[in-house]
Amino acid sequence: MASRFKEALDSGKFVVTSEIGPPKGTNLEKMLHHIDLLKDKVDGLNVTDHQSSAMRFPSIGGCLAIKEKDGEPILQMTCRDRNRLALEAELLLAYTRGIRNVLCLTGDAVVVGDHKEAKGVFDLDSTQLLWTIRQMELGKDIGGNDLDGGVEFCAGAIVTPEQRPIEPQLMKFEKKVEQGAEFFQTQAIYDLDNLSKFMDYARRFPVKILAGIVLLSSARMAKYMNENVPGIFVPQDLIDELSKAPKGEAVNKGIEIAGRTIAILKKESLCDGVHIMAIGREEVVPQILEVAGLSAETMTH
């Protein structure tokens, strides 16, 4: 049976996903609140996997919490912390607990995180994790042994349309498609001309593309991302717009920019949907959806 998220992708509707960041610790209150707030407003909720290599409550734990609340989880899996046995085992666990969507990521380097002396695993990479899922769906683990009870997932990956040089990134995108990626969430996109150019290319492949929307909370954050975050380009006119916002109003301007961007993407059918990353400000995602004119729409279930 196809997952609710997969059904949404296949329905042709403008798909909306967002994400939840698990806590550092066992106090799940805030995470559960964010799940309650968003689960009925989106088609799928990613749960990040030790985002930026900072140790946190696990992605699968967050996905189980979403399932318990009858939401639709998208399990983010990086290859940084687990070898192939551990990744396969987690896929088995996920499947038995009704988690049907997986986002396959290589993962940030250990040294950018908060356990800088840890061993980075990277036994597999993102393309090989996709391959692994498709192998397991054939009834075998990747050691070639029979599985007693198989799996079936809607598997996706990420792509960075602003990466320079772009060609190696596109070659990797095609490898991910060949290894069975059904959907892609992009790195944050602000320049819609660049996204259009990428989409002209990506439309040739049988995959759904959800444009990444990262909430800009200030001009400073925008400049910081331009200088430090790979594959992100915030155009100067957006930075100016944020700078001109009255004191304390920059976040609201960011919400307006994000909502406005989503509305344009949908109206002009530039892509198949969006993935909204509020990074610690999940509270405002409903407002972004409202500005985008998507608040009236509900999940497909």
Partner: protein
């Protein structure tokens, strides 16, 4: 190919030498001389340091031409008396040299004075880089001679990760992204198709540890 070493912090060395007051020092005339970590000059500096600040007795010293090869046995034999008089051997060579000394003096503590960092080459005077991780499955023929196992921080086989920025690595803007280099070189060779090839998961047990091989 050179074994690239770095001097251990003096505090660590002091700790390892605690209770060992008579010391014989071994340097190496090859890699450790080139990296200025265990050549004649460094061995003499160490001797002065041990006898001065640390109040030790240096019973003798030698710089072996190549500490990892068979000649080591003969050189150590020549210095047998001074070594016998010492409570330990302090080796200012890479771990291969340490192993040689351990082999000939299994009863005597052998203390490494250096940390062995990697097997590499000298790119320009004083600048060294790792070029081979001895993984047992060489892919250099498909990656334009740039090893993704050691030159990519994550050892990726299927192209760049999302952390690359303007041809640099996410862990350090001074480091090149290996996959951008591979891309540019393959493009220059007209062999970009190689980069489109999917590499299934790598065999990390080509020769399981402890590694060893017998030549028939």
């Amino acid at each position: 190919m050179k074994s690239i070493t770095r001097k251990k912090p003096l505090e660590e060395l002091e700790r390892e030498l605690s209770g060992l007051d008579r010391i014989f020092i071994v340097g190496c005339g090859t890699c450790a001389t080139m990296t200025k970590t265990g050549g004649r000059e460094e061995v003499l500096d160490m001797k002065d340091h041990l006898q001065g600040q640390q109040d030790k007795v240096v019973t003798g010293w030698v710089v072996i031409p190549t500490a990892c090869d068979d000649m080591t046995e003969a050189v150590l034999k020549e210095n047998g008396k001074a070594i016998q008089a010492a409570e330990c051997i302090l080796v200012m060579a890479c771990a291969l040299g340490v192993h040689r000394a351990v082999e000939y003096y299994p009863q005597k503590p052998v203390i490494p004075a250096l940390d062995t960092l990697f097997i590499g080459v000298e790119d320009s005077p004083g600048s060294f880089s790792e070029v081979c991780g001895q993984c047992g499955q060489c892919v250099l023929g498909e990656t334009a001679g740039i090893c993704p196992i050691v030159s990519c921080h994550k050892g990726l086989l299927n192209g760049p990760c999302g952390g690359t920025k303007d041809g640099k690595c996410e862990v350090d803007p001074d480091k090149d992204c290996a996959w951008t280099l591979i891309y540019e070189r393959l493009k220059g060779q007209g062999r970009l198709d190689l980069m489109r090839k999917f590499h299934p998961p790598k065999n990390y047990q080509v020769v399981p540890r402890p590694k060893g091989i017998k030549i028939a």
